[in-house]
């Protein structure tokens, strides 16, 4: 007979198993990411050494009220050291600030820059719509996408394009994005660690072990042919990049990850903005899950199918596991409950904590940023930032079942940054010199 006490114990063990499956997966991906880093660096270096003719590229930058950042973005994009002609299209989606004026100002001094205004009737329908509109006006066969707050490093576009051209079945190549304002406050420092971990562990690991990458929404190059095959971006999707990635794989194309192609971007500097942005992402992932969950078994790439399934595991079961684990922990601490399961469970917790910190510290080493401070940050992040993700998932679940649905611009609020600081940061990394406008 299973008593209430045993049921709690079983729930606790199930939570431990689930959490540790995810941790083990993460460890495997960390090793895979390391392999990808070695392979990718070697491949990129070889490609750059060999050189060769490159095609022209259309760069798409969707923008809506981006007056705080658009000038710096264009400065960086115009400074790309791409040896062929570029077409830089800024799609103004009904900005009510000086975005259009600033873009036109830059366009007067750099003829590669073009402002494309969305017709009034089409404004405010989201980033996907803006991109779909722009791709029809783009003139080249390769399209690069950057968000309006991005500062790509000069060589990044060339790396992306060269990597794309080596394999005819590659639909797109994505680069790495870094946090421009990572030293602004604790939140941006956490986000910096999070983005590094996501790219070096999840993206790189998936690429190395399963040949799967997912588009991040910025800093990638894609073939126009693929977009046409896929009928462009899904305008109902909030995380249009993930959604597009799935359809690309469905059609037998592949996506590669070239972490050497770096673009810097601004990240939320306040908790409220972060919460809204992350909630939007999770809500978007729910959409992707709903759309593909029941057809995923037919995918040619079974690992991608597994990824779709993992979305549900991540957001439902994993959340439940964490809640059970936290609940049992709190109940034990407050004396409401006693879970008598023999075993070194303190070491189990310590193991999870140490692995988390070690993985983050490892990825900072990839960037040459492995300071002791990062260990403290990672430890603090485990106890604070990671727990805040529970709130994100709760909000997303609430939105999923009780909130409003549909795609619309839910733009991340930009923060004014001192250009001098940005330049200094960029300069220290050998990027964003010169410029246009």
């Amino acid at each position: 007979m299973i008593t209430a006490g045993v049921a709690i114990q079983i729930a606790f063990l199930a939570a431990v198993i689930l959490i540790w499956l995810m941790i083990a997966y993460q460890v495997v991906m960390t090793a895979g990411g390391f392999l990808h880093r070695l392979r990718s660096a070697r491949l990129t270096a070889d490609l750059l050494r060999v050189g060769g003719t490159l095609p022209s590229v259309s760069i798409l930058i969707p923008a809506r009220n981006e007056e705080l950042v658009i000038r710096e973005t264009l400065r960086a994009v115009c400074s790309l050291s791409y040896p062929q002609s570029l077409e830089i299209i800024v799609i103004d989606d009904g900005s009510t600030d000086r975005t259009a004026e600033l873009v036109e100002e830059v366009a007067t001094s750099d003829r590669r820059v073009r402002l494309l205004r969305l017709p009034l009737a089409e404004q405010g329908r989201g980033k996907s719509h803006a991109l779909n509109h722009a791709r029809r006006h783009a003139t080249h066969d390769l399209l690069a996408v950057y968000d309006a707050d991005n500062r790509p490093q000069p060589e990044s576009l060339e790396i992306l394009v060269r990597r794309l051209l080596i394999d005819g079945r590659l639909a797109a190549v994505l680069g790495k994005f870094r946090t421009l304002n990572h030293s602004r406050n604790l939140l941006t420092a956490f986000i910096n660690l999070e983005t590094l971990a996501f790219q070096w562990i999840v993206q790189a690991g998936r690429c190395a072990l399963f040949g799967v990458g997912t588009l991040p929404g910025t800093n990638f190059v894609i073939r126009r042919q693929v977009l046409e095959e896929c009928d462009g971006w899904d305008e109902r999707a909030v995380t249009e990049d993930t959604e597009l990635s799935v359809r690309i794989y469905q059609r037998g194309w592949r996506i590669d990850f070239a972490p050497e192609a770096v673009s810097w971007e601004e990240e939320p500097e306040t908790f409220g903005v972060w919460l809204r942005q992350r909630t939007r992402w999770v809500t978007g992932n729910f959409y992707v899950m709903r759309k593909f969950l029941f057809t995923s078994w037919r995918f040619p790439n079974k690992f991608l199918a597994l990824q779709i399934l993992s979305l549900s595991i991540l957001y439902y079961l994993f959340l439940l596991a964490v809640l059970v684990s936290h609940g049992v922990f709190l109940a034990c601490v407050t004396g409401w409950l006693r879970v008598d399961i023999p075993g070194p469970y303190t070491l189990v917790w310590a193991g999870a904590f140490l692995l988390f910190v070690a993985e983050l510290f490892l990825v900072t080493a990839y960037e040459g940023e492995h300071r002791l401070r990062q260990i403290g940050l990672a430890a603090l992040m485990y106890l604070s930032y990671c727990q805040a993700w529970l709130l994100v998932v709760f909000r997303a679940l609430w939105n999923e079942y009780f909130g409003k649905k549909g795609s619309q611009w839910d733009k991340t609020i930009r923060f004014p940054s001192a250009p001098s600081i940005q330049r200094r940061r960029a300069a220290s990394r050998g990027g964003m010199r010169g410029g246009c406008g």
Binding site: M1, I2, T3, V6, Q9, I10, L13, V16, I17, W20, A24, V27, T30, A31, F34, R37, A41, R42, T44, A45, L48, R49, G51, S81, E155, I159, E260, I341, P342, G343, P344, Y345, L347, V348, A350, G351, A352, L354, L355, A358, E359, F361, L362, A365, Y366, G368, H370, G430
Partner: protein
Amino acid sequence: VVCEESDEVLAAGEDGVPLLTVSSRGRGKVLYSALPPFGAGGAGPFTYLLSKLKDHGLVAPACRSKALEVYFDYGERQNQISKEELVELWSNHGVRVIHAAAWHDYSNWTYEYDELLELAHQNSMLVYAWLSLPGVSEKLWEAHPEWREKNPLGGEVKGRRKAVSLVDPACREAVKKWIADLLGRYPFDGVNLAGLSFSGETLEKPETLAPFSEPARHEFHERHGFDPRELFSEESPRFWKRSQQDLQTFLAWRKHWTTSLHAELLEYLSKLPGAEQRALVVSVLDAAANPAAADLAGVDQQAVLALQKTFPFQVQIMDAGNARPWGAGRLQGVLQDYSGLVDPADLAFQIDITQAVGPGNRALTGIPLYLLLEGAGGRPLAIYSEESIVDADWPFLAPSLAGATATPTGSGELSITSRSGVRFPLASDRRLVRIGGKLWPAVGSGEVLVPPGEQRLEMTGQAEDGARILDASCPILEAEVVSRGIRFAYQSRDQAWVLLSREAVEVEIDGRAAARTLPRAEGRHGWPLRCPPGRHDVVAITESLPQFAVRVGGLALSGGIVVFSGAALGVIALLFLWARRSHRRGPARPALMPERRA
């Protein structure tokens, strides 16, 4: 004798000269005594010598028994402390049976016997309903004045007990019903039919004599043709001083009635629901030591004891006070006197310490009391009453009753010999016990439950956190940890209570399914298991299959995770060193960029 200021004087003569002192000398202590048997000072041995030695840490760990029985009368207790504290006190000092006064039933309140029983069972103690018939509860006595016992003068019999006339058939039935209600309502472990007799201090005090209720007189008249009141009428020719024959007739009639009442009540008790689980005790006057008292109480002891052949009860011989010689051989004398009447296995002693009737007409306490208890030779012994036991005596009662020897052997073991099983204190850091070389899971809080006979005890490191026997109201003969539980054998005259360290989800007694453990009370460490009288083999499964799976799975899971974590951290450390090394050399890409451009 030279005393220093720091010396503690335990006893001094009238002239102030120290007769017993304790002084510290380096890491040890010195006891000086001028009292007998060490010297000629004072009037006799120092009664509380052992207690004082214990206070100074000079008493070595000793075997203890769990054999003591105490009488507990809530109404007589001067110092009213909580049941919890009382039970803890009794439990800490080896009490096995509590004879609880069962008559505290009033019109607006009844003593909380259920709470007392629950607490006692949680401590592996038994509670017997102590019936002091013909005394009954105040509620019954108040409700039926017509049944109250009368003296030959026509008044109510004055005394401590609320006596009723058991010769009256209607009253007798009501009393039986009262007993049945009591036993039906509360799960007493036994019944003590204590001192069932007729009152009477002396024939010179007729106001104390019984039975003279109307039905009793009528019954006597029917049998013997005269009213017994005439025996106490100086004008009557049957006045007892004139007519010894009539007096003897009357006394014989009383004896007949006490025997008859014993028989009727024992039969009634043995037919009540749950009787097979309840012990029966009959406490009788020590007629061998004081036949006159037995005559006056109307007790034909031989006839009462003969009922044992029909109703197998335990005989408790009540304390005869100064009527029996004092000294270490007193209880052996009782045993000897009754050896022809009662099987020694069914005999229990009683010691009354409520009055100053000990040796030299002094209260029975200290060393004389311990020596008396030791004389019980491990047989059941009840002290009347628990409240009269002084604090200094409590720690020495259980060791005195143990009747055991503990001898260290050369191989680090301890050889313990006892008749009924004893407890031996555990060394603070050694809880893993082996008896006869085998792991022994009967280890309670701070003591080992050693089985009867000669045992070789070995104490080593920490015990595993498995099922254990924490306490028991009877000797544990065998015990071993089995898969998912514990197996043990015990022997008990009465129903037994065994306290397990884990809740039993399944219990088998002699291979047959039995009731599981009772719930654990707040603040207690164990789960009580009720076991039937006799010698039985018990298997208590303390872990259900899901619990077993959770325990083993949990252990394997956590162990595996820890190993995996260690390995993963090692791999990550290697990757880190590799990444750092390659970063020092400089990443491949940026180094190539300027070259190509150049």
